[in-house]
């Protein structure tokens, strides 16, 4: 376990973002995960993304289920409220929180066990409701916290540490999310910070459901040579589909890519996504080609990463439900309680 105490005071020369905050202001408590656990790299990427996006941390709600991955919400954004809920049920808690106040940024962190097994139902329904959140799965193909059982994202024929082969087909959360109507679907690798940070930034800026499935190796239980979720396997089999830049305003876009390979999208909040495709075979704004692309590579044992699908029409649950623009948790008695006179009229109706 890594127990390196962090010095309390901040160095006066630490760089600051537009809000005058340092990276330190976006950190959490010291991680208690195993040294080298992929999840810690994801936490670092989240800290970097929030710092760069210049979001006030207290306007973020961190919600998770149960697992090593779900614990990490404690390891970043100390200034944000966190909620480590119950196993597999983070989506419902996030849904309720979001209904209460659509103005916060909802950052969900989950594991592959938490999402693809016990929580598959809640995950699916949060996706189809287009809940406005970024949902990060720290996918290690195993149940870390209960010591290494196969998870549902573990690839068929992949072996555990003891050499036992997984007999069942894996669930591909990205395919499922595209199928169910997620607006932003990406996959990344915890070891590729350069790719992951902009993906998290884009996911957080996206208005709708954004899934980022991060292959995040479990060094203790699933990092051996016969694993398809190990650092080595990922380094050898990672097919990067695109590189993404995200900036807050239009003029700064760097458009030095070859024509025809870049896709520009302006998000709901005004930020600009510039997606540079490294492969010309597919169009990530088309769900059908996105799905067949995923399937094709999966058959080859290749992990495709990058933005896999992006729906430029951003719709979220509040839009669909037609709920008040003002956060429900900010409404007061005069807006909510009909009062004695209205009750008198109701009495008449029930006479």
């Amino acid at each position: 376990m890594t127990h390196i105490a962090k010095p309390k005071f901040s160095h006066p020369n630490l760089p600051k973002n537009g809000l005058g905050l340092t990276r330190r202001n976006y950190e959490g408590v010291v991680s208690t995960l195993c040294a080298g656990c992929g999840h810690d790299s994801v936490s670092a990427a989240i800290i970097e993304a929030c710092y760069e996006l210049e979001i006030p941390a207290h306007k973020i709600a961190k919600i998770s289920g149960i697992g090593c991955s779900s614990k990490t919400t404690n390891y970043f954004l100390n200034r944000a409220h966190g909620f480590n809920s119950v196993h597999g049920r983070m989506p419902s808690v996030a849904t309720g929180a979001n209904l209460a106040n659509g103005e916060l940024t909802y950052l969900g962190v989950s594991g592959d066990g938490d999402t693809a097994s016990i929580g598959l139902g809640q995950f699916s329904h949060a996706v189809r409701r287009r809940l406005n959140m970024v949902y990060i799965v720290e996918n290690n193909g195993t149940y870390g916290l209960t010591k290494g059982q196969f998870s549902a994202t573990n690839d068929k024929r992949s072996k555990n540490r003891k050499g036992v082969e997984n007999q069942f087909d894996s669930i591909d959360l990205c395919s499922l999310a595209i199928e169910l109507g997620a607006g932003f679907v990406a996959r990344s690798f915890s070891g590729d910070k350069a790719q992951l940070v902009p993906l998290i930034k884009a996911g957080m800026s996206y208005h709708g459901f954004a899934l980022i499935d991060v292959i995040s190796p479990c060094v203790t239980f699933n990092n051996h040579t016969s694993s398809t979720k190990s650092y080595d396997y990922l380094r050898a089999h990672n097919q990067v589909m695109d590189r993404l830049d995200i900036v807050a305003s239009r003029p700064e876009i760097s458009a030095d890519y070859e024509p025809g390979t870049a896709i520009d999208v302006t998000l709901h909040d005004g930020s600009q996504i510039n997606l540079h495709k490294l492969s010309s075979e597919y169009d990530p704004t088309d769900a059908d080609t996105a799905l067949s692309n995923l399937n094709r590579y999966k058959r080859q044992g290749t992990v495709v990463t990058g933005v896999l699908y992006l729906d430029p029409d951003e719709v979220d649950l509040h839009d669909v439900m037609n709920s008040s623009k003002q956060p429900l948790n900010s409404l007061g008695q005069s807006e909510l309680c009909p009062g004695a006179d209205a009750l008198e009229a109701l009495n008449a109706q029930y006479r």
Partner: protein, 613 residues
């Protein structure tokens, strides 16, 4: 055969086939009697089925105001040949059976009046559309019955006009159908029935409404904004009514809703959403029934331990398992009192009728936020889905929602070291904050794992035990805040009492009157909440024996009393009913007399009744 007339004291029963459109005609009948000023008690006894199964509707009319179901039917309208046999049997000698005599039938009882009305034929003669022929049968029998027992015609026609306000074309044929029935009865049964309705003033200041509508209204008045639910009989109409009232009262200038009603994918999700919304500072609830409570258990424990306000309306039905989904019971008392693993204990409110569904429904939100814990409103199918005659609702515009101990940004500036689970005031209740409140202060980590005063993870057993003790203290505080039991000392010297809760109350009150008339004086306590306040033990201390009336097999409230008070188990004699039907006074009365016979010293403990109210 009709000699002595009985006014305003009878039971009507309708035997129908479900899906045949009888419900609205039967409701019309109840409502018309109510508008005549008569206290009515309608009970809908329906199957868990959409079409083709037997369904009944009973209406007790009691000018004296008795609201319990009563056996012994005075007038039976038998429209379902499948159930003729039992429908004939339940009619009291001297009573009346009305049936569709298009197919003639001998019912083999000469102690009742059998009135055959060729209802199908009358409909076939008057309408050509098969759907109309079917639907108007219900209105034809209503017309005939109305004349036979003197239901005011003008009131009926007004009600029909109100019912079809949005489809005015339907008013005329419905009134015609009514008239066809009336006309037939006039020509063929010139003598009306022995039981009659006569206008009264007993319902002045009263309304007729179901508990689920009232509960939803309570939530609206309590400023609840998020309702997450999963369909299950008999709770569905809570969420549906909430949505209806929200659209009516909470549509803003932009046509948007100041509420979010979400049909979840299951009860786990429904309660998770309610917890998430409450955590984030909105007032949120879920409505469910037994099977849903079972599914929600893990989350209920999380809300208990991480101290998140939560309101659950549990509209109890017949268990165990899927049980009798369309019958009533009070069989979730224990499963709610201690829902979830580990040491947990929850606040329960036991409304007696829709009136208390409204007041407790509203109070539940204050209590949940004041105590930062789940609060269950323990209604049941009988209260929730039947219409009850209750006092008009009132609301005090001066009332303010009690949001409990919440620190806003200004307050946080004043707090030196915020600890989410620190008992600053000594009542066990700590201060909470809502996400997004303050840039630097007040954020904390909510978890179901053991935590320190600041919400940090801990495996320190001493800290864990101390935290559990604090939460227990909160529940002691709860006992002082909850609705107190209603105690009626009917016979000051009596050493006997009846304890009950919820929907059994009308039967118990009526039974107490019957017993008093026979010279048995008993006192009465209706429990309205859990954890129990000190009044309950005090009441028990004054009595030698207490009959505990409840609608479950295992005497769950008695168990709770034994477990949570110092009352001796010996004193508590269970009176249990669990056939799924609303309780009758006769059942309670007979059960008490049986216990008298069983225990010799009991009868001696009775005193002369001083009141019989």
């Amino acid at each position: 055969m009709q000699i002595d007339k009985t006014f305003n004291d009878f039971v009507l029963k309708f035997g129908n086939i479900n899906g045949s459109g009888s419900a609205s005609a039967n409701l019309l009948c109840a409502k018309a009697l109510f508008r005549m000023g008569l206290p009515v008690t309608p009970k809908n006894i329906f199957p868990s089925n959409i079409q083709g199964m037997p369904t009944w509707y009973e209406i007790r009319v009691s000018e004296a105001g008795f609201q319990a179901r009563r056996d012994g039917i005075d007038v039976m309208v038998a429209m379902n040949p499948q159930t003729y046999r039992q429908d004939v049997e339940c009619v009291v000698p001297g009573g009346t059976l009305i049936y569709d005599s298009t197919m003639k039938r001998n019912f083999g009882r000469d102690d009742i009046d059998v009135l055959g009305i060729p209802i199908s034929k009358l409909c076939a003669d008057n309408w050509s559309d098969p759907r109309q022929r079917q639907l108007f049968k219900n209105v034809v029998y209503l017309g005939a019955l109305a004349r036979l027992i003197d239901i005011d015609n003008e009131i009926l026609e007004t009600l029909i006009a109100e019912q079809f306000r949005s489809k005015p074309k339907l008013v005329k044929p419905n009134i015609e159908a009514l008239e066809i029935g009336r006309e037939y009865s006039r020509e063929n049964f010139p003598n009306r029935l022995k039981v009659r309705a006569r206008k009264s003033t007993r319902t002045r200041g009263k309304i007729m409404i179901s508990g689920n509508e009232a509960a939803a209204l309570g939530a609206i008045y309590a400023e609840a904004t998020v309702a997450s639910w999963y369909p299950i009989t008999p709770s569905t109409s809570v969420a549906e009514a909430f949505e209806r009232y929200a659209k009516r009262f909470r549509t803003d200038e932009d046509g948007k809703l100041r509420a979010a009603i979400i049909q979840a994918e299951d009860e786990l999700s429904a309660v998770g959403m309610a917890i998430g919304a409450n955590w984030n500072g909105a007032r949120a609830f879920t409505a469910t029934s037994g099977p849903g409570i079972s599914l929600m258990s893990e989350f209920i424990g999380l809300a208990y331990f991480s101290e998140i306000p939560l309101v659950l309306f549990n509209i109890q039905r017949g268990g165990p398992s899927t049980g009798m989904p369309t019958r009533t019971q009070q069989s979730d008392v224990l499963s709610c009192a201690y829902a979830s693993h580990g040491d947990t204990k929850h606040v329960l409110l036991f409304p007696v009728d829709p009136g208390e569904c409204f007041t407790f429904g509203a109070d539940a939100f204050d209590l949940a936020e004041r105590l930062q814990t789940p609060v269950f409103v323990m209604s049941d199918l009988d209260i929730g889905m039947n219409d009850w005659v209750i006092d008009e609702f009132t609301w005090d515009d001066e009332r303010r929602a009690d949001r409990g101990k919440v620190l806003d940004a200004v307050a946080l500036e004043q707090v030196a070291d915020f600890g989410r689970y620190r008992d600053v005031d000594g009542d066990g209740i700590a201060y909470r904050t809502i996400p997004g409140t303050h840039e630097e202060r007040g954020a904390y980590f909510t978890r179901g794992t053991s935590h320190t005063e600041t919400g940090g993870y801990t495996e320190d057993g001493t800290i864990h035990a101390k935290n559990l003790d604090r939460i227990a203290r909160k529940h002691e505080t709860a006992a002082t805040l909850l609705p107190k039991p209603l105690i009626r000392d009917l016979s000051a010297k009596s050493k006997l009492g009846i304890i009950n809760f919820g929907s059994t109350d009308s039967a118990v009150r009526e039974a107490l009157i019957l017993l008093a008339r026979e010279g048995h004086g008993l006192n009465h306590m209706r429990i309205r909440s859990f954890p129990f306040g000190e009044e309950i033990e005090a009441f028990a201390a004054r009595h030698d024996y207490l009959f505990v009336v409840e609608q479950n097999r295992d005497a769950q409230m008695r168990h709770l009393l034994v477990a949570e008070t110092d009352i001796s188990a010996r004193k508590l004699l269970p009176i249990l009913n669990y056939d799924g039907m609303p309780l009758t006074a006769a059942f309670v009365h007979d059960a008490v007399l049986n216990l008298f016979a069983e225990y010799e010293d009991i009868a001696e403990a009775c005193a002369t009744p001083i009141t019989a109210a």
